[in-house]
Symmetry: C2
Subunit: 291 residues, 2 copies
């Protein structure tokens, strides 16, 4: 895959045409491009994706773009955390090659009209409570892939449904990019990394631990022989509800590809949660392997 | 642009992965790829697109794929003409390099879920009477572009609205393909070339001439000073209705980019028609340049 000569400094690009020129030039040199699309406010989960790309690809591109089309009108687009300077520092430290951070106007100029929809796997879980989410994600990811032209793109399994949507998009539209799944990164106490964690008060932070704890309890119960999906989701609901300031959006015990709800835990199973804790809607999930 | 060494024989490809490998290899050799997507049953209009590609690009790929997703349930998918053998002869004679003709199952395997929508310019004209048409066209063209990876793609102006949709798709999704518009090719008597012309009886063929004739009359009337869009569409309606076996789908006097109907013929104007003549739905159009 070519000789690995790392560029020393992070190159910041905001123009689409400049990013395209760079990608084309890297490809002409037979250098592989790894890509980590983000909305910024980078945490250890993001940096783990970047690390994976750095280990495998000749050049690593990270994008920071808070995509307005994936937020609903009542969601937190305006308050979504922004901290470009500290993101840049983190990317410099870890050794990423290129930061692509286009403006909204560059990505969606006046007269913009096109959207992409992945059907059947976007109406459940997060797609149910956030109906604009996955069309927005699919469209922006397709645009970013066309601009960055990566060989590999890295996504975290915390957004499990998003990963399934992007894998389907890539396969259905015959794109030439390998989607690399990376396991959830957690704080020491189990809380899944999220840009929205920073809004939690100490008390809410404590309540938020019930997400990972309830999943761990579910795992334990299944290992001990529970096979009823209802029993599992009831015990998760109880664990979450005991905490102050939590509001459950969904608890799903389902097939990890079709997201069809299960009655019995047979075969590979996804347990996925979305819970509002104070100001932040948090998600978490775990996979029960076939047993 | 590389040295132009033409391959001598038409290469037939039905596998997506084989087509992708060829495109990748051509691009690695710095050869330019011209692409003419068709539904087969090739006529002089198609061959003119191929000729344009042959003149400009190092290699010319023609696809033949009758795309099921762009036909409505009450439309002519089952009877749409198929004549692969004679299409191949024509492509060999003209000197096309590659024929890509995938199966339906190759393009839309079981579990296929993704579609692309271009908004705002797909609800008028043909999009109004054929609501599935443009999502189907956008999706299959995007897939074909991703498979063939052309530098240039050639489309006829007979499908004016389709061209606008594809241009928008390419721009919005940041694709790297130049869309080349090619004027309508007509029979000696004025009938716009169409694969659906073959279904016309001699009498219907005669009636079908009213499409181009009514457009010519509209041009003449505008040149003589008519500025009312209603007067123009009334005179077109009369000319079409006089013929036996015609059933008007739409007559539109509109902006050629937004497809907004005009009251006065000011600025660049599209006059577009769709008329059922016997078994065939025929379309035609002309542009009135700003004057």
């Amino acid at each position: 895959m070519g000789i690995k000569i790392k560029s020393r400094t992070l190159r910041e690009i905001s123009s689409i045409s400049e990013m395209k020129d760079i990608s084309q030039s890297l490809r002409k040199q037979n250098l592989t491009i790894g890509f980590v699309p983000t909305m910024g406010c980078l945490h250890a989960g993001h940096l783990n994706l970047v690390k994976r790309s750095l280990e495998t690809c000749d050049r690593t591109v990270v994008s920071i773009f808070i995509n307005p089309t994936q937020f609903g009108s009542n969601e937190d687009l305006d308050t979504y955390p922004r901290q470009l300077e500290s993101d840049i520092e983190k990317l410099e430290t870890i050794g990423a090659d290129i930061l692509f951070h286009p403006t909204k106007e560059e990505m969606y100029p006046p007269g913009y009209k096109t959207s992409v929809e992945v059907q059947n796997i976007t109406e459940q879980l997060c797609g149910k409570s956030r109906p604009d989410l996955f069309d927005g994600v699919s469209t922006v990811v397709l645009k970013l892939f066309n601009i960055v032209r990566p060989h590999n793109a890295y996504f975290g399994e915390k957004d499990w449904q998003q990963l399934a949507v992007i894998e389907t998009l890539v396969e259905d539209l015959n794109l030439d990019v390998a989607i690399i799944r990376v396991p959830i990164v957690r704080e020491a106490d189990g809380l899944a990394m999220s840009s929205r964690n920073r809004y939690l008060s100490p008390q809410e932070r404590q309540s938020a631990l019930s997400l990972s704890r309830s999943l761990q309890q579910a795992r334990d119960n299944i290992r001990r022989g529970t096979t009823s999906a209802k029993a599992i989701s009831d015990s998760i609901r109880q664990c979450l509800s005991e905490q102050e300031g939590t509001e459950i959006d969904y608890i799903s015990v389902c097939d990890p590809e079709s997201f069809k709800e299960k009655e019995q835990i047979r075969g590979r199973t996804l347990i996925a949660l979305a819970v509002k804790v104070g100001p932040s809607r948090l998600i978490d999930n775990c996979i029960i392997e076939e047993f």
